[in-house]
Amino acid sequence: MEIIARGLQMERTQLRLGLVIALVITVNSVMLVSSIGNGGQYVIAGLAFASMFLVEYLLAKQSLNTSKRNVSVLHQLGAKSRSITISVLARFLLFGFIGILGGYILGVTAIIVLQPISIMYGLQALLNQGFIAHLVTIGIAGIGGILTGSYLGITRSLQTTHNDAISFSIRQ
C-alpha cells in the first residue's frame, strides 16, 4: 500500500492540514465539553463529527484530484478502486488520529491551566468518569467523521477519475 500512496503523490500538505484541523477541532471540543452540561456534550460531539466529516471530505477529494494523472496510470495497470481507497483512507485516518491525540493533550492541558475560570469542572473533574466518557465520545465522533468524510471524498473523486483514466488513455 505504501508504494500506491507514494505513487499517488499523496499531498503531505493536505494530510498535515487534516492533522492540524483535527487537532483544533478536538481542542475546542474538549474545552467546551468541560464547561457544558445538560446533554450539551452530545451536541459538541455531533459538531465535532460534522466538522471532521466536512474537512476530510474536501481534503481527500482535493488530494486525489491533484493526483489524477497517477490515479489514471494505476487504473490502467490494473489497480482496483478498492486498493486506492484503502491506501488513501489509511493515511487520512493515521494523520487524523494523530491530530485527535494531539487535541486531547492540548485540550486537557488547557483545562488544567485554565482551571480557575472553569465553571462546572475543575482539575478533579479530569478524574470524573462522566468527563472521560465525554472525551471518548468526542474521539469516536472525530474518528467517525474522518472515516466517513475521507471515504466519501475518495470514492466521489475516484468515480470521476475512472472515467478520466479512459479519456486520458484515449487522448494519447
Binding site: 508504494i3 503523490q9 495497470l77 489497480a79 482496483k80 478502486s81 475512472h162 479512459i166 484515449i170 494519447q172
Partner: protein, 222 residues
C-alpha cells in the same frame, strides 16, 4: 498443437461522445496466441483506440470483444482491472510512468495489484532490470529519464507480471535511432517476449518488418 484464439473482435464499432462518426465500424479481428501482430496506420486512424478496446480501457459502442473467451462487455470495472493486471502488459505511447517513483518501483508496480509481496516484487524487478541491462539505474527517479529510457522502463514494466498479451502503442515514436534499435531488439529478442501474443501499433515500417501479421488501419474520420 494448434494456436489458441486469445483475442476476438466481432462487429466492433466505436464512436466517441455520442458522435455518429465511428472511429471503427464493424471491425472483425481474431488474434491467436503467440502472434506478433502489427497495426499499421496513419496518426489519428484509431490505433490507440484499438488497444484501449482490447485492454478494456474503453468499451465498444457496438459489437463484442472477447479475451480468452471472456466477454469484456459483461465485466464490471473491478473485473476489468483484475483482467488487465493478470492478462495484459501495456506500453502506452507516453509511457505513463509515475515520475515520483524510482525505475525499480515503477517496474514492480503491476505486481502490487497481483498481490505479490514486497521481497518477491523487488526480486522480479531486479531480474528484469538485469535482463535489459539497466541495473545500475534502478534507484533513479523516472522523472529524470530521457524519452528512450522511459520507453525501455515501460517495456520492462509491461513484462514484469509475465502477461500473456502485450500491447505496445507506438513504441519507437520519438526515439532516436539507437534507442529505437534497442526497443526493436527487445521486441525481437526471445528472452522477455517469448511465447507472448504481441500487438504493436505503429507507423514505423521497421517494426512492421518483424511482424508475423500486419493489419492496415485507414483513417475513417477526416
Amino acid at each position: 498443437m494448434g494456436s489458441k484464439l486469445v483475442i476476438s473482435l466481432e462487429n466492433v464499432s466505436k464512436s466517441y461522445n455520442g458522435s455518429s462518426d465511428n472511429v471503427f465500424e464493424k471491425v472483425n479481428l481474431k488474434i491467436e496466441s503467440g502472434e506478433l501482430l502489427v497495426a499499421h496506420g496513419p496518426i489519428g486512424s484509431g490505433k490507440t483506440t484499438l488497444l484501449n478496446l482490447i485492454s478494456g480501457l474503453t468499451k465498444p459502442t457496438k459489437g463484442q470483444i472477447q479475451i480468452n473467451g471472456l466477454d469484456l462487455g459483461a465485466m464490471g470495472n473491478n473485473r476489468l482491472a483484475e483482467m488487465r493486471a493478470r492478462t495484459f502488459g501495456i506500453v502506452h505511447q507516453t509511457q505513463n510512468l509515475i515520475p515520483e517513483l524510482t525505475i525499480v518501483e515503477n517496474i514492480e508496480l503491476p505486481l502490487v495489484f497481483l498481490g505479490i509481496g514486497k521481497e518477491e516484487r523487488r526480486k522480479r524487478a531486479t531480474e528484469i532490470l538485469r535482463k535489459i541491462g539497466i541495473t545500475k539505474m534502478a534507484e533513479r527517479l523516472v522523472g529524470n529519464l530521457s524519452v528512450g529510457e522511459r520507453e525501455i522502463v515501460a517495456i520492462a514494466r509491461s513484462m514484469i507480471g509475465n502477461p500473456a498479451i502485450v500491447l505496445m502503442d507506438e513504441p519507437t515514436e520519438a526515439l532516436d535511432p539507437i534507442m529505437a534499435e534497442m526497443v526493436l531488439s527487445l521486441i525481437r529478442g526471445d528472452s522477455l517476449l517469448r511465447k507472448k501474443t504481441i500487438i504493436i501499433t505503429t507507423h514505423d515500417r521497421r517494426i512492421a518488418s518483424i511482424a508475423g501479421r500486419v493489419i492496415h488501419i485507414k483513417r475513417k474520420i477526416p
